[in-house]
Every structure is written in C-alpha cells, then in structure tokens.
C-alpha cells in the first residue's frame, strides 16, 4: 500500500517538474518576444512635421519641363532651407540651425522625391509632412526623458518649445516608416533601413545554397550508396559529425584565411560570406541528406537492381527522388541556421557601414544579423528600436523558413 502511494507520488512529482520546465521556457520566450515587440514596434512609424512647401522657381532653377536628370541635380538643399525660413519667421542664424536640426538631414531628398512625382506642384505651395530628426522622433515617442537638465538632452529648450508649439497646432504627425523596409543603412536612424542587409543576406544564402547543396547531396549519396563500411568511411563520418559541431567563428576564420587570404577574394562581399556560411552548413546538409537516404527502404534499391538497373540508375531514379523531401528539409533548416549566423560575417567583413543596396553577390554588403549587431552598437537612441525591429524581421524569416521545411516534410512524406 505504502509502496504504490510512493510510486504515484513520484509520478506526480515528475509530471510537475516537466510542466514547470515547459512553463518556464514558455515564460522566457514570451518575455523575450514582449521586450522585442514593445521596443521594436516604434521603428515602423516615424514622426513628421507638417510644413508649407513652396516649390520656388528662383531657388530650384528648374521648371516642370526639365528632365528628371536636371531635377535631380536641382538645389533641393536650398529649398529645404527656404522651407524652414518660410515656416518659422524671423529666425536668427543660431535659431535657424536649431530648427533645421529638428528635421531629418535627408529633408532635401524627401522634397526631391516628392517633386519628381508631382511636377505640377511647381511654383505652388503644398502642405507636406516632413520627417523629423531621430532625436525629435524619440522625444515624441517618449523614449527620451524631457524633464532632465538641458545639457543631458539631445533636444535643447528652444527646440522643445517649438515642438510644443507645433504639437498645439497639431502639426506633429506619425506615418508608416516604409523607409525601414526600402532603404540601406544610414548614419541617421530616421532614414536607416534594413533592405540592404536583407539583400546582402539573400545573396549570401543563394551562394551558400548553390555551393553547399550540390556538394552536400553528392557527398552524402556517395557515402551512403557507394562506399563500403570500413575504417576510412568511419573516419569521414566522425569528422563530418565533428565539423557540424565546430563553432561558426572558426569557419569565419577559415573564410578569412583561405578565401580572402589565399585566394585573394574581395572583402565584405556576399560571395565570400556565402561560401563561408556554406562551409558551415555543409556538414549539416550532409548529415540530413544521409539520414534521409538511409530512410529509403533497401527493398526499393533491390527492386531496381533486380530489374537490371545500374547502381547510378537505382540511386538517381529511385533513391534520391524519395530522399529529396528529407534532403530539402535538412537544407532549409541548414539555411535558416546560416541566416542567423553572425560570426562568419564578422570575420569576412560583412559588417561594414553600407548605404547602397547590393545589386549582386560581388557588391559590398552587410547581412541581417550583422546589421542588427551594427545597430545595437550605435550610440544613437533611434537605433535601439531599429535593432529590435531588425530582430523581428530576422525571426520572421527564420519562422517562415522552418515552417516551409515542416510543410515540405508533411506534404511529400512518402508512405511505404
């Protein structure tokens, strides 16, 4: 009687420990997500200041019949200055600088982009929502405290007074920050975007896939279907398993030392980053491919061989197609792992400040994780929310990739 009680109690205890473990891990994930979302959601909106913009022919020195090329070269910088002067009358030189600082430094670009699409507004006055500087943006979002001495603030008292004035006139607005999705990196948080990093990661992953998938597939087919078990095969197997556990920074050093050092490949480019990620993903892909090849029943091979198929025909007509779903799943999971790796990118220089969107694997670029790393290191307050927003995007991509892997596995699962 006491025995059964004891046994049941220990049963209950272990169940409780398990539940506690699950609960705690869910709690941590939720807290992490909550933190990222509350910090990062601000990055998707930017503060704007409403201003009257007069597209002044005297300043722009172009007209609406000018070609786009000429318009692009027009002096929008001077136009921006005139907008500040027109909207805030009688500014001294010092006051002008302070007011101008409340707007983004890319004021002129915003005017130019607007004018290129609305040439009929030439010689007219229109109301525009001009993007505010990041410091003002952070004050409006409440991320900077207001009630501290002026010397500890990025926004001085004069600017605060103007801000309050503008708020009262309902000229402070908020708009969806599509720049975050379309721009490359920038010194100014309000114009910094993640698209450059996304493209950098995309090219790197494409290189990684093109390099690691065929090599991994053929290596695993050879090891699984052609080699006879023996000392050499065992040695290779052990080494592959070891490689899969090697820290990624070691592969980064390999990329730096071999690709850049020995083969003189360029620094900072997705080609080198992708190959380095490929070194890292290769063992993962080989292991996944081998296990899915092993899962194909020998009876299929025997059936084909008994019909007089050669080994290669048997392998590529029957075994590999059947193993492909598992192979793809493993590859996608390997790619997802590669997408999140930062250390190899750091080693091959894909962590530099790159404003241009890379147009191919040979253009200088950063990757998604290294961009997040860069932003997290930035002193500007505005980059904190960018960092979290970048993490959100990275997580989104990872979830999408892993989900695809699961769906492929479900969809093409073969029933014997």
């Amino acid at each position: 009687m006491t025995n059964i009680k004891k046994r049941l109690n220990s049963e209950r205890r272990f169940k409780f420990y398990g539940q506690l473990g699950v609960f705690l891990s869910l709690l941590f994930v939720t807290l992490l997500m909550l933190k990222i979302f509350t910090t990062g959601s601000g990055a998707f909106f930017r503060t704007t200041i409403e201003a009257d913009v007069f597209f002044d022919p005297a300043i722009m020195k172009v007209d609406k019949n000018s070609s786009d090329k000429e318009i692009e070269r027009a002096s929008f910088e001077a136009l921006a200055d005139s907008v500040v002067n027109n909207n805030f009358k009688n500014l001294s030189e010092d006051e002008f600088i302070k007011v101008r600082e409340m707007f983004t430094r890319r004021f002129d670009y915003q005017l130019r982009d607007y004018f290129l699409n609305n040439k009929n507004d030439f010689n007219k006055t229109v109301k525009m929502n001009i993007t505010a500087s990041s410091d003002l943006d952070q004050i409006v979002k409440g991320n900077y405290p207001r009630n501290v001495p002026e010397s500890q603030r990025k926004i001085n008292d004069y600017q605060l007074a103007i801000l309050d004035d503008l708020t009262q006139q309902d000229r402070i607005g908020s708009t969806f920050n599509f720049w975050f999705f379309t721009n490359g990196d920038s010194r100014d948080p309000e114009t910094a975007g993640i698209w450059g990093a996304i493209m950098g990661s995309f090219y790197a992953l494409m290189v990684c896939l093109a390099f690691a998938f065929p090599i991994g597939l053929f290596a695993s087919v050879y090891l699984e279907e052609y080699t006879k078990p023996g000392k050499i095969t065992d040695l290779i197997e052990v080494n592959i398993n070891n490689l899969a556990a090697v820290p990624s920074i070691v592969f980064g050093l390999l990329g730096l030392g071999m690709l850049i050092g020995v083969f003189n490949m360029p620094f900072q480019v997705p080609l080198v980053g992708g190959l380095t990620l490929g070194f890292m993903t290769l063992p993962t892909i080989i292991i996944a491919c081998r296990s899915s090849l092993r899962a194909v029943p020998p009876s299929i091979r025997h059936g084909a061989l008994a019909l007089g198929a050669t080994k290669t025909q048997t392998t590529f007509h029957h075994v590999v197609p059947l193993a492909l779903p598992g192979t793809l799943t493993g590859t996608i999971i390997g790619m997802a792992q590669a997408l999140g790796e930062t250390a190899p990118l750091l080693m091959v220089g894909m962590v530099a400040f790159v404003m241009e969107i890379p147009g191919g694997p040979l253009d200088p670029a950063t990757g998604l994780p290294s961009q997040i790393y860069l932003w997290s290191e930035s002193a500007e307050r505005g980059f904190i929310e960018k960092t979290s927003a970048g993490i959100m995007l990275l997580l989104l991509f990872l979830i999408v990739m892993n989900l695809t892997a699961v769906l492929i596995r479900r969809k093409v699962e073969v029933k014997w």
Binding site: I300, G303, L307
Partner: protein
Amino acid sequence: MVDNNIDFALKTNNVYVHYGNKMAINNVSLDFPKNEVTSLIGPSGCGKSTFLRCLNRMNDVIDNCKVEGSFIMNDTIDIYSNDLPIESLREKIGMVFQKPNPFPKSIYENVAYGPKIHGITSSKSELDDVVKESLNRAGLYEEVKDRLDDVATGLSGGQQQRLCIARAISIKPEIILMDEPCSALDPIATAKIEQLINELKQNYTIIIVTHSMAQASRVSYKTAFFHLGNLVEYGDTSKIFTKPDNQKTNDYITGRFG
C-alpha cells in the same frame, strides 16, 4: 537425378557461399529444368534464399559475401563471368521479392521502368503495349486498367505482388526467381499468385523459395530440400512429398522439425 530428356535453363555445380567466415551454402549442385517450376524448401536459415540470390548475383551487394562454383545458363552463359555485365544478367533472370516492393510511382511507371532502362521499346505506343501485356500476363490488367497513373503503393498487397511480377516479366527474362512471394499475402491473394505461377511456367523457368510445403507441392515440378546449407534431397515434387529417400526430408515434410 539427371534426366537426359529434359532441357535445363540453368545448371549449377559445386556452389559454396560464405558470409565472412560463416559457411552458408556447402557444395550444392542443382539443375533447373526449362519452363518448369522448381521449389526450394527447408527450415529458416538453411540457405535456400542465399542460394536463390546467387542466381541473379543479388548477393554481390552484400559486402562480405563470397560465392564460388559454376553457374551456367542455357549450357553456354557463365553467370559469374566478368564479360557478362551484371545488368545484362538481371535482364535475363528476373526476381520477385518476399515483400511486395513496387516503386512509389504510378502503376504504369513501375512496369515501364525496366523496358525503359534496357531500351527494349523504341516508341511510346510500343511501351504502352509492353506495359499492357505484362500486366495482362500478371493477371492485373483488368483490375488496374482505369488507374494506371495511380500510385502503385495504393494497391492491395496481393495486387502489389502481382505488379512486381508484371514488372519482372516486362523485360522478358528467361528465368524468374521468387523469394517467398506469398509470405506477406493472405490465402486468396496467395491462390491468385499460385495460379499465375502455373500460367507463367509456359514461357518462363521459375525458381521459387517457399516456406509452405503445400505451396511447393501445388506449384512445382521439382523440389529441392535444403538443410544447414546442404542440399539434402532434390527430385520430382511428387516423389519428395510422398516417398523421400532421405530421413531428414521425411522428418521435415511430415512436420517433425523446421
């Protein structure tokens, strides 16, 4: 044992098979009459399946398996000759396995695969004919003619096994090896396969390994009894099952061991 009036499809002499150090077949010599069914019977582990797999060199895929002896087909072709590619040999000697193993492709693809890789047919319509004829001979065509594009693994076990037979005869072999083809099937499916074997023997030499002595007695003309890697007795089925020469054979067929 040797009857001069009979044509032999395959003659084997002094066959030894080793798995590493373990002897699996010990000096077996067997001749298989043309267009007849020969059964190989014996208790589990007696080497009958090993011997069968020697005949189309399926043992070659097993790493430590060593086969010795002479295997002569139609009095001329040495099965283990280096001049004969293993693929051509298996074109002549087909095989049906214990567990139905259709490829997880369409029914059509299953039967068409052999002719395709051997280049037997030159046009699509010719291939269609071969597929139809093979399925017909395997007694499966009427059941599947409307769903040739369905995946073969959706068929019942007995249908799958007949599909495997259709697949084996699609490349027009001379000899068909069957390794316990009915052990995974129910009695009705088994009856169908046995009937099929009876029809097939007009065109093919069939060598069948079976656990069921009733099956051996029903389908085969000759029966060979294996025990512990030795060929104990070989002769006409009617004789083996009624008055065997060897005491062990007698014990086995009367169910005293095995």
